[in-house]
């Protein structure tokens, strides 16, 4: 549905179930352990590229309520797609390298969130950024495990709809 990338629902859904190690988020929305924390999750990209994409994903759609595993699940979708898509793998690897270079060495090493966002802003027209961003539209927001954290209840027909479950329960108007 997104103009810049073909939505792969399967990829997005597959990523939901990916086994992920837990990392934490520190001050300024910075992902901890960015050097090696995702080594066990990255299958096709190298660990640093994967970790940088996780940081970049959080900076693109920052949500305090979401643990890093949700961003990593989205990046896993790209990582898996890169297995048979050499052009994608190159785009992601080169894109991260370019981002690190623009950051003066390490994007994830920039501790000021506003400075990281400024680096992304400078490249938002690039195919690489749009690939990562477009992937998140489904990879992040179509993750059923994340829905309750946003107050979205998902399927309702199997529960009899909302006719007896609050379709008109608003009480503050």
């Amino acid at each position: 549905m997104n103009g810049h990338t073909t939505i792969s629902r399967r990829t997005a859904l597959k990523a939901v179930g990916a086994g992920l190690i837990v990392a934490g988020t520190g001050a300024g929305g910075l992902v901890y352990g960015h050097n090696n924390a995702w080594a066990a999750t990255a299958e096709n990209l190298d660990a640093d590229t994967f970790a940088t994409l996780v940081q970049m994903s959080r900076d693109t759609y920052p949500h305090d309520r979401l643990e890093d595993k949700f961003y990593a699940a989205a990046v896993s979708g790209l990582d898996k797609a890169a297995k048979d898509d050499v052009a994608l793998k190159t785009m992601l690897t080169d894109g991260v390298a370019g981002l690190n270079k623009a950051a003066g060495g390490s994007y994830s090493g920039v501790t000021d969130a506003d400075k990281r966002v400024a680096l992304l802003k400078a490249m938002e027209g690039d195919g690489f950024f749009q690939k990562v961003r477009g992937n998140l539209v489904t990879g992040l927001y179509n993750n059923k495990e994340a829905w309750p954290l946003f107050g979205y209840e998902g399927a309702s027909a199997d529960k009899g709809g909302y006719i007896d479950r609050g379709f008109d329960d608003i009480n503050w108007l």
């Binding site: 549905m1 997104n2 103009g3 810049h4 939505i7 629902r9 997005a12 693109t60 759609y61 920052p62 949500h63 309520r65 966002v117 938002e124 961003r133 539209v137 489904t138 992040l140 927001y141 179509n142 829905w147 946003f150 107050g151 979205y152 209840e153 998902g154 399927a155 309702s156 027909a157 199997d158 009899g160 709809g161 909302y162 006719i163 479950r165 609050g166 379709f167 008109d168 329960d169 608003i170 503050w172 108007l173």
Partner: protein
């Protein structure tokens, strides 16, 4: 269910099974006419539908290759997806929200009422409200439209209650839960609405009218209707006299078949219908079938649309219950003092979290975007839909180089907003925001148009053959046994959601075709 032979040239062939084709095919069968509906998509029944936005999108959407051009934002945000419509038995009636509004009297006479609007290719319809009243009444009864025929309105959900509260504070008067083709009580062997939500994803209770659940089964029960799914029509054939003789279609394996026909009715929605006529060009009809006017594919309309979303400081849960749960009609009047001709409707609309991410602000990112997603639970939403101006340059055309899976040129959809469309949208955005601010909104957002759901006008109806493609019966001016039966025959778009009018025209057309057949004229 009947099955007809490929060489049976006594059948009426209907291309498409949506609001136009599904209704027409069923009604012809009920009248005793042998009919074959060829549907490009598969057949997914009520139990197959998914309460899952992307899952359903992959299941029923028309995703064949299309291209876009023009200055409309859809061409930038969704370059390969100009329209959000359906490829499945039931067509876009599986996806529609159910709003069933009659045109207003003046909307049948847009040229007379609005006068000359620079750049607009306005025309009066060759039919009017007096003619259509009886067909609207029949359609409303068939579809079980609430607030007609003694059918009560649906109960208002949370999203509606927010809209209503703001509307009343602003002084709007025509505010209610809509005229909806969704059962508010059991009717026509279908249950009452369970407020499931996911109306766009195919109704899982059967409460929402669609040709899939309400018309086609009735047609099939007569023994006069065969619905052939996974049958993509590629070309309409004709003989030396110029009459159409049948259609060439590809089955699910890509194998081609020729179904002969006595009459062909095209109802593939306003992108595929003109594309089929253009792709059927021959030495006799080098510009495509029924195109002596040059209007096939032209005057593409998609309604002036936009959405307003608003965040409140307490929960709304807009997604609970019917997607289009209520309406404000006060702005649907023609009142040029607002700075534009025609009017617009304001209708609640909700998206689930996945589609909010895709549509709220396509391409948007960063903290501001995330704020909206963080406040999803406290969000209310409305859709703005109004009359847009027909422009000859807005058109479906055959792509010069891109081909589909059958080797045929893909359609390009070109659209530029008319100045009137822009002025109307700005006004509608302002009023939509005012409604929510009156209800206490913390923040409001102007969401740009989604890919087109109301595709209209590309084989338009006209009194004179030089101005349009079909006459007042949807019969092509050029070829007497070739009809257009979908929204592409709309002369102008009016402010209202088009399905009720498409159904009313299809019922009327069935009456005409059956009558002409019995008189020996077809």
């Amino acid at each position: 269910m009947a099955t007809f032979d490929m060489n049976d040239d006594s059948v009426v062939v209907v291309v498409g099974s949506g609001a136009g084709g599904g209704t027409l095919g069923a009604e012809l069968a009920i009248k005793g006419v042998k009919t074959v509906i060829l549907e490009a998509g598969g057949r997914h029944e009520t139990e197959d539908f998914q309460n899952d936005e992307w899952g359903s999108f992959g299941q029923i959407s028309w995703l064949d290759k299309r291209t876009t051009s023009g200055s409309w934002r859809v061409a930038k945000d969704f370059a390969g997806l100009p329209a959000w419509i359906v490829k499945a038995v039931g067509g876009s009636t599986t996806h529609w929200a159910g709003a069933s509004l009659r045109f207003q009297e003046h909307e049948w006479k847009a040229k007379t009422t609005y006068g000359d609007v620079a750049g607009a290719n306005l025309l009066d319809w060759p039919i009017d409200m007096a003619e259509m009243d009886q067909w609207y009444a029949k359609a409303e009864d068939r579809m079980g439209v609430t607030r007609t025929n003694g059918i009560p309105g649906l109960p208002g959900n949370n999203n509606y209650k927010v809209l209503e509260a703001g509307a009343k504070k602003l002084g709007y008067k025509e505010v209610h839960t809509g005229r909806m083709a969704i059962n508010s009580e059991p009717r026509d062997d279908r249950a009452a609405c369970l407020q499931i939500g996911f109306c766009f994803q195919g109704c899982k209770s059967g409460a929402k009218w669609s040709t899939l659940v309400a018309e086609i089964p009735k047609g099939e029960a007569t023994g006069n209707l065969e619905v052939r799914p996974n049958a993509q029509v590629l070309k309409i054939e004709h003989d030396d006299t110029g009459k159409v003789t049948g259609v060439l279609y590809a089955d699910k394996d890509g194998k081609q078949h020729l179904q002969k026909a006595r009459v062909v009715c095209v109802a593939g929605n306003s992108i595929e219908s003109p594309r089929l006529l253009l792709n059927s060009a021959s030495s006799k009809y080098p510009d495509g079938l029924a195109n002596s006017s040059g209007m096939v594919g032209k005057n593409y309309m998609r309604h002036m649309t936009g959405s307003v979303y608003a965040v409140f400081d307490k929960p709304v849960h807009m997604y609970r219950g019917t997607t289009m749960a209520g309406i404000i009609q006060d702005e649907s009047r023609h009142d040029p003092s607002r700075g534009f001709v025609g009017g617009y409707e304001m209708e609640t609309l909700s998206l689930g979290l996945p589609f909010m991410a895709a549509f709220l602000d396509p391409g948007g990112w960063g903290k501001d975007f995330s704020w909206w997603m963080d406040n999803y639970e406290n969000t209310a939403g409305m859709w703005l839909v109004g009359e847009d101006m027909p422009q000859e340059k807005n058109a479906i055309s055959l792509h010069a180089t891109e081909k589909d899976q059958h080797g045929l040129p893909v359609p390009n959809v070109h659209f530029d907003d008319h100045d009137n469309d822009i002025k109307m949208r700005d006004h509608a955005f302002g009023q939509g925001e005012a409604v929510y601010k009156a209800a206490g909104a913390v923040k409001t957002f102007r969401t740009p148009p989604y890919p087109s759901t109301h595709n209209l006008g590309t084989n338009r109806m006209s009194a004179e053959a030089k101005d349009g493609v079909v006459n007042k019966h949807g019969q092509s001016h050029d070829i007497s046994n070739l009809f257009v039966s979908d929204g592409s025959q709309f002369t102008t778009g009016a402010a209202e959601n088009p399905t009720l009018t498409i159904v009313a025209l299809a019922l009327r057309q069935a009456d005409f075709i059956a009558g002409e057949m019995s008189k020996g004229n077809l």
